[in-house]
Symmetry: C2
Subunit: 246 residues, 2 copies
C-alpha cells in the first residue's frame, strides 16, 4: 500500500471522527508500528477473541478506518503484530562466524538487547499469545516457531548433526529459563543486565553439559569446542563439565 | 458438609433433571473430586470468565444443583480446584531427613509422580491458571505460590540462609525448565521418565553451580554438600562444578 493512499484514509477519518483524539504527524511506517505495538500490548492483557478494532485504534491513537485500511481484518492485524516482533528477533539473531561459545555469548546479548529495547513487546509476546502452554492457535504458533528457531540456532551453531530428544528438551528447557529470568529482570530490575547475561549464557553451558551425559554426539562436540575455545574467555568450570572420554 | 446432606441434593437433582445424564454410584468425596477435576480440565482450555457452572456440571457428569451445593459460587469452585491440586503437590513434598542432594533427588521423583499420577491436572494447572506470565488473579496466584514454595524448599533444604536474587532467579528459571520438560514428557513421551528425572535433577545441580559463581554463600554451601555427599551417588561432574576456594 502506498503512502499517499493511507494519508487519504487518515484525512477522511479525521474529518469523520466525532471525539477528540491525539493526532500527531507520523510517517506511515511509524503509524503502522504504533498500531502493531498497541495490538501486542492489548493481546498481553486480553484474549484475542475479546478485543475489538475499536479498542486497538483507541490504544494506538489511530482511527478505526486507518486500522482497517492497513490490516483489513482483526485476525490479520494480530498475526502481523506477533509476526513483526518475532521477525525482528530472528533478524537480529544472525550470528558472526566465530567460535561456537562466542556465538552463544553474542546470541545472549542480542536476545537481551531485544528484550530491553522492545520491553513492552517482549513481555507482551511471552505473557500473551506466546505464554508457554497457552492454547495452540496461529498466534502462539508464531511464538512457538520462534522458540524452535532459537533451539535450532543453538544446535546448528554448535555443529550438532543428529539432535536427540534429550538435546532438544534440554534446550527448550533452557529457553524457558532464559524467558523467566529475562522477564523477571525487566519487571523487577532486581538483577543487573550483566548478571542476567552471565546467568543465561552460563546456564546454557551447564544445561548442555548435563545433556551431554546422556548424548554421545553432544558430549564429543562439547569436548571439541572446549578444546578449541579461547582459554581466557572460557569460564574455568566449563572445561570440567566434559565427561572424560571412554 | 455432611454426606447425608449432599445425597439429598443429588436425589433432588436427579428427579428434576430433564435430560439423561451418566449417573454412577460415587461417594461424596469421589463426586467432589470429579467436579474439581472437570473444572481444572475446562480451565486449561477456556478462560475462567467464559465458563459456566452448567459446562462444569456436564463435564463432571454431575447436576448443576450438586455443583452449587458443594461450592456455592463459580469462583469458589475454581479456587477449590486449583488449590486442591497444589495442596496435594505440597503435601507430597515433605522431604526425608537425608543429605541435601538426596532430598533434591527425592523431591524430583515426587514431582514426577505427581505429574504422572495426576497427568491431566498437572497439564491443566500449567496450561490454564498457572501458565507462566498469565494474568495475575487469585487462581494464578495459587500456582505461583506453589512455585515459590518449591523454590523455598530447595533453598531451605540446601541450608541457604540469605538467598540472593541470583539464587532465587536461578531456581525460578530451573523450575520453568522442569515444567517444560515434564509437560513435554507427558504429552509426547519422547523421553523416558528416567531421562526426565535425571535431566531435572542434574540441571538443578548445574544451575546451582552456575549461580554459585555469583553468590558467596551458595558457593560455600555447595562445596560443603559436595564434600559430605555419598560419592557413589554423586554424578562425578558435580564435584568439579565447585569454584575453588579463594
Amino acid at each position: 500500500m502506498g503512502e499517499r493512499e493511507s494519508a487519504t484514509v487518515e484525512a477522511e477519518s479525521r474529518g469523520g471522527s466525532g471525539k477528540p483524539t491525539r493526532r500527531r504527524r507520523l510517517s506511515v511506517v511509524q503509524r503502522r508500528d504504533e498500531i502493531v505495538s498497541a495490538t501486542l500490548r492489548l493481546l498481553s492483557i486480553t484474549p484475542a477473541s475479546q478485543l475489538s478494532i475499536d479498542d486497538i485504534a483507541e490504544a494506538a491513537g489511530a482511527s478505526r478506518a486507518l486500522v482497517y485500511h492497513y490490516f483489513r481484518t482483526k485476525e490479520r492485524l494480530y498475526v502481523a503484530a506477533v509476526r513483526s516482533a518475532c521477525d525482528d528477533l530472528r533478524a537480529r539473531l544472525v550470528l558472526p562466524d566465530v567460535h561456537p561459545f562466542e556465538k552463544m555469548q553474542y546470541a545472549t546479548r542480542v536476545y537481551l538487547d531485544f528484550a530491553e529495547q522492545r520491553r513492552d513487546d517482549f513481555a507482551a509476546l511471552l505473557r500473551g499469545p506466546g505464554r508457554p502452554g497457552g492454547q495452540p492457535d496461529e498466534l502462539s504458533s508464531i511464538v512457538e516457531e520462534t522458540r524452535t528457531f532459537i533451539v535450532d540456532l543453538v544446535i546448528t551453531s554448535l555443529g550438532i548433526t543428529r539432535p536427540t530428544e534429550v538435546v532438544r528438551a534440554s534446550l527448550r528447557g533452557w529457553l524457558a529459563m532464559a524467558e523467566v529470568v529475562s522477564l523477571e529482570w525487566l519487571e523487577r530490575q532486581a538483577l543487573t543486565r550483566d548478571q542476567v547475561r552471565r546467568l543465561i549464557a552460563n546456564q546454557l553451558g551447564a544445561v548442555l553439559a548435563v545433556a551431554a551425559m546422556e548424548d554421545e554426539e553432544l558430549s564429543a562436540v562439547f569436548a571439541r569446542h572446549v578444546a578449541t575455545a579461547d582459554i581466557d574467555r572460557l569460564p574455568p568450570w566449563v572445561r570440567s563439565l566434559v565427561r572424560p572420554a571412554g
